[in-house]
Each structure stands twice: as C-alpha cells, then as structure tokens.
Assembly symmetry: C2
Homo-oligomer: 304 residues x 2
C-alpha cells in the first residue's frame, strides 16, 4: 500500500525580501514526501542526488520514516542545484542559477520493494522521466497524480501529453492551465484538459486558492489569507504531497475525498511558506495540522 | 425599515469581445437596487437623472417596487454617461467617454419618506456626496455600507477617509485595498483599513471571489467559476446590493449573517455578468437565486 513520490531531491539557494539562504535542501520530491509523511506512513521516494547531498540531509527523510532506497546516490557527482530570487510581491521570481548535474541523465530505477505501490505522485520532472517511472511499475497504481510546469510545456509538450493520457489527476497552476489549453477561462481550460486524459484537474491559484474539476463538478478551496509569505518555494509540491498523502490514508478515491485532500494540501502548503525551504514542514505536529485544517473549515463555512 | 441605495442612475455604452450596446441603463444605484429588490421589499433610490432618461427606463425600478421618489429628474439636462471597452481577458477596460452631466453638481436630496431608513448603501459616487447624504439623515441607519473606487482615492482621499470613519462596512477590490493601505498583503491591508473606521471590510477579487474581514475573523467566498463572462459591468454594484439586501431581510448584523450576505452578493453578481448591463438582473426568479446560492454551497463544502 505504498505511496511513491517521484521528483527531484536537490539543493536550493533562495533570496526573498526577508533574507537569503546558502544551499539548503529543496526539490519537488523533498517537499512532497515530507508533506505526505504527516498523513501516510508508507512514503517512498524515487530520485537521484550527488555525493555532495550528504547523509545528514538524507536523514531529514528517514527521520520521518520515509523510504529512501529509491534515491540513487551518484559518487563523484553533484546534486541538482537551483537558485532564485523573489520579487517584492512574492508572485514573481528570477532564476539565478540552474545546474542540472545528476538530474541531466536521471534514469529512475524502481526498487523491487516499491513495486506494489498503490499511489504515485509524478512530481515535477521531465515528462520522459515521469513516463519511464510509470512504465517500470509492473502494476499500475490505483491513483496516479502528476504535477508539472510551464517549462515542460515549452520544451516537451508531446511527451507531457503522453504522460497526461495515463494519469488520474493533474495539478498545475492557472497560467499553466491557460497555456496547456489555449483558453483564458479556467472552466473552459479544465474541460479541454480533462479531455487530454486526467479524470481530475487541480488548478492552483497561489494566494487565491485552488479549483478541483472532475465528475462534472467543481470545488473551490481558498488559500489561507496570510499576513506574510516568507518563502513560497515548494508550496505547490507540498500541496501535491499533502493531497496524495491524504488520499492514500483515506484509501478511497472520489470527488468527496479529493475535496478534503485539496484542503489538506492547502493546509500543508500554508505552513510551507512560513519559513525558508523545507524548514517548517520538517517540524509539524499532528495537532498543528489538525488546527490548520479546522481554520480552513472556519474560513469557508457559512449558513444560508 | 427602508433600505436606501445612493448612487448613479445613468446610461452606459459597452463593448466586450461578445458585442456592443447602444446607450443602456447603467449606474451603481441601478445595479445595486435591482439586486437588492430580490431580497428586500422596501428599497429606495437616491440619485439624479436628466430628462433624457425617460419614463420607460424608470419603470425598470418601479416594476420591482423600488421607490424612486428620491431620483431627481433634471429638466433640460442629460444623464450621466459612461462608455467603455473591455479587453479580451475581461479584466481590464478602457474608458472611451465619461460625461458627468447631471452628476457634476449632484445634491442628494432625501425625501422625508426616506428618513427612518435602517439600511443605507453609499454606492460608488464622490465621497463628498456620500457624506452629504449620510449627514442629511436625521437618524443614523443601523447599517451603513460604503462602496468606492480607486478614482476617488486618487482625487478625493481626504473626503473618502472622512466617510470611512462613519461606515460599518467598506467594499473595495484588491487593488484598491492595496492602494488605500499601502500594503501588498491583503491581511495587512485589511488590518490598516479596519483602523480607518469600518467595522467590516469586504475585498472583492473578481474571478477569485471575495474576502470578508471583521470581528478578528476572515471569511473567504469563491466566485462562481464561469465558462464565459459576457459583460462584467456592474458586478461589484450588484454584489453590494445583494449583500445589503440580504442583511436588511435578515435584520441582524454580525459576522455570521455577513458571511451569508457575501454569498448572496456573489450569487447575484454571477448572474449580472451573464448578459449586457442590467438585463440579466432585471429578470431573475426567486427559484433561480435559490439554486445559485445552493451552487455556492456545493462549490465550497467539504467534509474532513
């Protein structure tokens, strides 16, 4: 009944109006796996790092009982590194450095202990790698969630569409939904994208929350209104990890359980942005998460 | 127990990607009063029109049992006229023509039959006119709601702040909240604006819904996801009219009733954008409104 998280495990160096960091742990799989680990107890990562990543950093995952036997460690090579600087409004950022390093020729190897997984998050990575990982599973998981970004739409759209045909849920942001569909209206965009393969679509709108489409229904979740966003890095990955972690825990997949999963994903993402990198989502308590989810209930409930 | 709507009653000429109109009925009070009339049965307008407005157009209000004895009709003069063209994304527009006409020296006269009103919407107009109308009421209504826009922040900020000190609820959009407060974060903006006088603040975010702040609480309402926005003109005024109309009907004012009022305002605004101008909100049924409000419940409800 494992939940596999495929994605980058990497180093980031971040600069926001609140300060800057040296190289810290980043990567889509890092955020997603940490988030999922609070909701599900059998989380396994597939990724690759260089020798520079270090045992101490890997322990961030094993401390949370995350299985890292699918993280390849490449001797003499360096981990993926991204450096970015956020503008004052926190909604836009400049990439300062991108060093692919070990990610350049990443071949996702699936340990045999991962083979019976029932849930997989194809985190943001090249569509070709996402597809390869999926094809190497001898049994299709009962839920396949895919996250991606505009970068892959620009350079690997055909591959991306191939993956899309095999997934149950796609998570992208509003601009990406518009790019992928060619439609400005998110309702029209969703209709087109759902015809590309996924049964469900989540459109992430940052501070404006998220929309879930599927089963001819729509669910709108707000984001938690925050006085300050300290560092938005990884919020989307954290959302995806919380989303699939909740569903793995529930064990049944329908529009109702996905609505709750969107709220859990949103709640975990709201923690993520409170500190730099993965810092905040390394040290959550069950009580904090419970209270944050209750806050979402309070924020949205009304009586007519 | 009247509800007074102060604002413009005017002509608009609109152009959207879906077509264009000749002069049709527009103005903040027109939209707000029509919306409120579905929820409350004692709605009274304070406004001014020119001789050109015509009896037929006034009957749009009297047909809905809206009291128009506070609409001054200026012989030999022309009604306020605005013409605008929306861009393809419907989020931005160019003003083509603004003719103040009778609005240039509007002196809001309160008929004696309006004097015991318990609810007033100070619709989008010059802050000086809003203040004059409020001061001419011999008894302060139990609820004063103010709508305004960036235009008045640019040219009459001091007057606007004077009105703010006397209102219970302010409704503005996100950009206006940022301009008025000097804060990018809407949470910080709300805190500052609530210190300027209003007990409650509603920040309208268009397709992203609305946030209600007050009593140390926040409520987030989504907008209805729409495949097409035919004409966004008047959606904010319709929201305000639906909001105060619901509260007048309920008769009690607290955070809980305001949450429902935000949903009713959002529901009525979602109708408004379906056709040009006031057309759609001239012909709603109670059943349609009921079903639309239910749609908002379905859109936002989840079970954890």
């Amino acid at each position: 009944m494992s939940l596999i998280i495929l994605g980058s495990v990497a180093f980031d160096a971040l600069e926001t109006p609140f300060g800057k960091t040296d190289k810290i742990v980043g990567g889509a799989a890092s955020y997603a796996a940490l988030a999922a680990s609070y909701l599900y107890d059998d989380v396994k990562i597939i990724s690759v790092v260089g020798e520079d990543f270090g045992q101490g950093n890997l322990e961030k995952f094993t401390d949370k009982h995350i299985d890292i036997s699918g993280i390849q460690i490449k001797a003499g090579e360096k981990s993926f590194f991204w450096s970015g600087k956020y503008h004052n409004d926190m909604n836009t950022r400049d990439t300062l450095v991108t060093e692919l390093n070990v990610l350049g020729d990443f071949d996702p190897i699936i340990p045999s202990s991962y083979q019976m997984a029932e849930y997989i998050l194809l985190g943001n990575l090249s569509p070709q790698v996402q597809l390869t990982a999926l094809e190497r599973l001898t049994r299709r998981p009962k839920l396949v969630v895919m996250d991606t970004m505009n970068f892959w739409m620009n350079i690997a759209l055909d591959d991306l569409k191939k993956v899309l045909r095999q997934v149950d849920v796609l998570t992208i942001n509003d601009e990406e939904a518009r790019q992928l569909s060619g439609q400005y209206s998110l309702v029209k965009a969703a209709e087109l994208i759902l015809n590309m393969g996924p049964k469900y679509l989540i459109i992430k709108k940052g501070e404006h929350g998220a929309l879930l489409f599927g089963e001819n229904s729509i669910f709108a979740a707000p984001a938690l209104p925050l006085a300050e966003v300290f560092d938005p890095t990884g919020a989307g990955d954290t959302f995806a990890g919380g989303f699939i972690g909740y569903l793995a825990n529930k064990g049944f997949i329908n529009f109702e359980s996905m609505k709750a999963a969107v709220i859990y994903g949103s709640a975990l993402a709201s923690f993520c942005v409170e500190k730099f990198g993965t810092e905040r989502i390394e040290s959550l308590s069950a009580q904090e998460i419970h209270e944050r989810v209750q806050t979402f209930s309070t924020l949205t409930s009304f009586i007519i």
